[in-house]
């Protein structure tokens, strides 16, 4: 998939992935890949900064832990994040309607 097209849509996607269970960065990457049918392959240089941004914005909260000698930073959705996710879903519907309204072929 054209990678840059994600612009502006990545945030709600990340929030959606941690909606029901907290996950660490690497697991979020895998979850996104799986849910997108393998289409989405985020570089770490995209994901990790995005996570820090979302935490700074107050939509995620993180916590360090060590599992099998490996350090993990686990992120969970805050209540502000939940609201933002809900808003993001709404905005997606609008966005999709707009794009499709324009893109749809016309017989004219």
């Amino acid at each position: 998939m054209k990678a840059d097209a994600l612009r502006g849509h990545l945030d709600p996607m990340i929030l959606a992935v941690v909606e029901h269970e907290p996950l660490h960065g690497y697991a979020i990457m895998e979850a996104l890949q799986e849910r997108s049918g393998g289409e989405l392959d985020l570089p770490t240089g995209t994901l990790y900064p995005a996570l820090r941004r979302l935490e700074r914005a107050g939509y995620l909260a993180s916590e360090w832990s060590t599992v099998g000698g490996r350090k993990r930073r686990t992120y969970q959705l805050t209540s502000a994040g939940q609201k933002t996710l809900a808003a993001g879903r709404g905005e997606w519907e609008v966005f999709r309607t707009v794009i499709e309204g324009v893109l749809r072929p016309r017989t004219n």
Copy 2:
């Protein structure tokens, strides 16, 4: 609508609008607004540079004319533009599937 979300999707939208009939910049703006149900209100500083970019890329061809004392630059789709538009529609389908696959709420 969240403005920046357009990123990467504006090009096919513009191409779609001039698919069946050549239009000048201002008319393209109006057509986008109409087809989007008023949701899309492109600033001229977005549209005009985009048109030049698309022309430079070979997807649009332009021609000056004067109508009622006003100068218009009318753009029409080239055959390369047609191909790109078709590709853009395909990419949109993929994109939409990916986003919705991730965003869709799960009962989990």
